[in-house]
Symmetry: D2
Subunit: 338 residues, 4 copies
């Protein structure tokens, strides 16, 4: 099916329609260099598997199926989360690259997180609502709780793709950046001018806290009632990674008390219930899982995929997608994004 010069790539990019992640010229590049099969049944998928050089997508790949994929060199996940429907151990044993598309979203999330932080710092959306209701307050009458980001104490909970993309955006504000990331040795942070800190210290000393951690068994409700109570009054919390990292009732209670302002992009249940009291909290900026999934981010997925497939076909290591770590890929507990 494939020719020696055009390795076989199986394309199963759901939940994305192909045109969301591939620009026309990216698709052309893909087809120029690879034989592309888009199986619409499991049977068709199974027929293509023995010759497949790579699989783009996240179909079920248990051990027995992988055993038949004798030529498989790479699994390119374009959804954003690693689900347990693949025998990752077998992939690593076989030297099959397991690649994720997280980097495609990181800049979009970082820019959005900064936008939420500046909104919370200055009351932008709150005062826009007031203006529309004829209740606007001019100049100093409406800025009593406005604060600068310059020189602020800023905490990052987690320092992976998102943190590394956010860091340069924050740098010109010259903040003191404390980072809690139990997966990284302190020296990695110090070399970048960051202050490694415990979770408690990060929370207790930060005016702005960005929650950037992914969900594992260890990080579920990492920010519970006790931890949130460590935040200084008037702190701003930006949640753009995964909802289960935070105890939502505790978070919302603290916002309702006026002790915390929060920008929330991810929710325990999406869509959020119509009568969820969060909808009326003045101290929130409400956002419907919008931080990462923008056209430019989706379209960059296709570029990452084709660039890395091209490298792999040339016998080179991938350079754009995230290489899943053998030690971590089984720990994630993120759910599919609806």
């Amino acid at each position: 099916m494939s020719t020696p010069h055009k390795p076989l790539v199986i394309l199963r990019p759901d939940p994305h329609p192909g045109e969301r992640i591939f620009r026309p010229d990216t698709l052309t590049r893909l087809h120029d260099r690879f034989t592309v099969v888009e199986p619409d049944t499991e049977e068709a998928f199974d027929r293509a598997l023995p010759d497949a050089f790579a699989v783009v997508g996240q179909p079920d790949l248990p051990a027995e199926r992988l055993a038949r994929a004798r030529e498989l060199r790479a699994l390119l996940n374009v959804e954003g989360n690693f689900f347990p429907n693949v025998d990752y151990d077998e992939c690593f044993r076989r030297g099959i690259h397991v690649l994720g598309c997280g980097p495609a979203y990181a800049q979009a999330v970082a820019e959005y997180a900064l936008g939420l932080a500046l909104d919370l710092a200055r009351g932008i959306s709150r005062e826009d609502r007031a203006f529309r209701a004829g209740r606007e307050r001019y100049v100093s009458d409406g800025t009593a709780d406005s604060v600068l980001l310059r020189g602020a104490d800023v905490g990052l909970i987690g320092f992976g793709n998102l943190g590394r993309s956010l860091h340069p955006l924050l740098a010109p504000f010259r903040p003191t950046l404390r980072v809690y990331d139990p997966w990284l040795p302190p020296a990695v942070l110090r070399e970048q001018g960051l202050v490694p800190a415990s979770l408690d210290e990060t929370l207790a000393r930060s005016t702005f806290v960005f929650v950037l951690a992914t969900v594992t068994d260890d990080s579920r409700h990492l920010l519970g009632e006790r931890e949130l109570a460590l935040l200084p009054d008037g702190a701003r919390l930006i949640l753009v990674s995964r909802a289960p990292v935070v105890d939502f009732p505790a978070l919302l209670a603290r916002v309702a008390e006026g002790r915390l302002l929060a920008g929330i992009d991810v929710w325990p249940d999406e869509p959020v219930a119509a009568d969820d009291p969060a909808r009326d909290l003045e101290g929130l900026v409400l956002s419907a899982h919008r931080a990462g999934g923008i056209p430019d981010a989706f379209l960059s997925i296709g570029d990452l995929v084709v660039d890395d497939l091209t490298l792999l076909a040339r016998g080179l290591p991938p350079a754009r997608m995230q290489v899943a770590a053998r030690e971590l890929v089984g720990r994630y507990r993120n759910r599919p994004v609806l």
Copy 2:
């Protein structure tokens, strides 16, 4: 009245109450180093004037009054605009420093302008409103018009205090930054990695346009109907300097047509009329002159004042406030901020 060691400073900081611009310890520093007089009548002011080393504030200072201020070395404007109630020519002839407090506001305005730009890029306040109304759209359903700031074409109209403060905040987004500033030679911009451009080119090629120009006879309605029509569809305009620079009816018409998104902090008449149609435009982020006047900015004015008074008393040039240019001080047409 003053002693040789404690030069006399007349303090008339209106419209600010003194405690807005002086932290307690700043005030202590001021009184430690200077004899401070706060005249509450014009007569008291006139009595203090002959011995005054400096005047903090913007009282009427026509030629005849300046003539009596024989020891005057500096006029420190803490309002933010230079009004024509001072004989500036005489100040310059006498070598009296005319200093402005613009730098105190610049960081606050720059952070706010970036916040508005990110809001417009991603629909943060618009979607917050929708969420509160139960109309939120999840993930890609609500991000069709979302764009990145990274790599964007960005235009700056004016490159003074505000532009210089905004520039480093934009730098990590690696934009192409076109600047229109008729008061600066192109080389000044090029040396900082900026692209000098005409007004028309700046507008026609920018997805984001920051209007940072002050009002002079030349810049009134600098952005009229013709100029706004040059903007690409879907552009984002951020107005944080002075309303008269823009033709508001033309601006609002363009937003109403859905061709432009705008974040507006300054208005032709403040307060804005209750029935102003701008209040209902979905394409706006509405803001009530809130960009600069935040507590931290006000309090830094006092620091600027005391630091520069201290330098002047030591026979050194000022280093923190903005030195008014003889050529420009008479050109400004800004009105007092209510």
Copy 3:
């Protein structure tokens, strides 16, 4: 031999004496967390191997030896080059991490490369020699060939560890940075503000060229006579990676003709012959393989090692050493550094 809580680490750090790469407190950390064996014979090594969690060093590890190392999780190379005395394929099959200490040297090499570039730009060492000989020339008499790095056209040949460390040091000079690296897709470079370019274009358009490539079968004499002839007259070439990348006779001939200035840290044969004509070339800055091997770099190797061993023992992926790529580890042709 090892206890459950203190995994066994075999330490064979030659060519380094242990104290060169381990600070006393680093060694204490190592011994606190691991059972450390330092075998002084091959037999002792073989006895320790079956229980070894990790090997620090680069002993011969053919397939049969690896087969006995049933617990082995990581091979931590502290020499800096990957030699073919290890069955890397088997390591990858087994999921044994193959880690290199390149990052320990990268900052030292980057700073040195910048130092050489500034020396070549301004004639620092040449004029120091002249001064000592009583031939110094003051002010403009000795600066006719001096050039700025600011705004210069700069080429990087290779963009791995060294390039990534050098890039931020060059950034404030606002150069146009062209990069030739056949292992990276252009987008990786563009995202960092770099200009991807062919080798010929990089050479033909650069005033400063940094040679940062490692040696493979493909890169031997990458810069031959034809390529060097592409450089503009007066160009400055900085060679800090590996000598075989450059055709030395062609390079030295070009310097002798006065068409090129070069800073050379690595040589085809080290030590260089006593009568090597390079020793007398005025257009050279001569350096004896000094760019990377400085005390601070050596000592950071120990930190990298202990930090990554600690992560691995906690079931986390390494974060400080360089993870060898399956595709590349067999391609390197670097020789041991004497």
Copy 4:
């Protein structure tokens, strides 16, 4: 002599020949916009003076001559130092701009200073000499005293043009930057991420010290024997501003003792005596006043001049040359550069 549209400019750029500071197209711009007179006698100068809009150069301008220069708006110094042959007080009274060309040299000096610092950090010129003498030492044999600039304690003595140009070049090394500048309030430094410090603290805590101060009555021998003794052993001192700031015998004694390494570009007497013992000190990098006067810097002077003349003729303030401060212009004690 001049027409209304082409104001009269007197050009007396000595010690520079005109072609050193004006590119051909810069000269064309100058002649297009201005009537240019180049008087070759004092009489010719006096004849042109009454109509002169600006003087480029530093001719004697005592009060009586200024009195005849009724149209004079600007004095543009192209030598680099302000000498006492001008009645500056009268210039300030008259609102005549006094402009200096310091900014033209600042980048060149900053790059050179960094080059000297990296040379001292790594022994570049010292080991180049050794290599030429057949005494080179390979790898770790010659790097025992090599140190990184990354993370180093760095002191700046003076923070004017030179400091502001050097600062961004040092920033990517993430040093702790202590600054001693008695003309600046601490907040100006803190806002830029610098640590304001006393002279003694700056010296005692810095591994690298850049001497960037100009000469006034206060700064002569600012670094005397007592101050130099505060430096930690092994410190690196870079002197690129003015020799009288340092007590040279004390400096050279300390270098001779092996306690200090120094890069010296300016000398108490230039040319330096043939038998000056400095010529033989291994711990020095010797440089003959070469830091600023390079072709690119000279040629930028012409650009600064024509850009600012153009602004002034349009009724705008200058934007490129340094505006001399009334308080400081009489304090400088720099001598002409030979």
